[in-house]
Symmetry: C2
Subunit: 79 residues, 2 copies
């Protein structure tokens, strides 16, 4: 089973990487960009066919390792 | 207008960061993970309302800056 976890910074948390991308885009001539935020995308290939179990496992993985829940949000999607 | 760009490594390109995550998950007791690939998620806030123009701009941004098209794929989604 394929799963896709996206980890994004919470609103209000500074994102220097996003700002760097925004400035780089601007210096390349892309002026109409108001804001850029960079997050992480983690694609996992899971064994087993129990979707509920997989979701529970993924939440635990995010809480323990994949996301820093103090400053990051995560969302889980089973494909 | 909000846009979401995902940048992932092409198949066959080694992903040491993904492997590191997989090993860390395994050492935390998550055994049913066959593979992990890490990608990037870039969320942009764009000016203007012309969706076709926005898509064309985003393709240009990906080709010029956001993705290394030798080793990475990108996909664009307007929200």
């Amino acid at each position: 089973m394929k799963a896709r976890v996206t980890v994004t910074l919470k609103n209000g948390v500074l994102d220097p990487q996003g700002k760097a991308i925004q400035h780089a885009l601007s210096s390349l001539g892309f002026d109409g960009v108001d804001d850029v935020r960079q997050g992480k995308l983690i694609e996992l290939e899971l064994q087993g066919r129990d979707r509920e179990q997989a979701k529970a496992d993924l939440v635990a993985m995010c809480e323990k390792l994949l996301a820093n829940t103090v400053i990051e949000n995560y969302s889980i999607e089973l494909v």
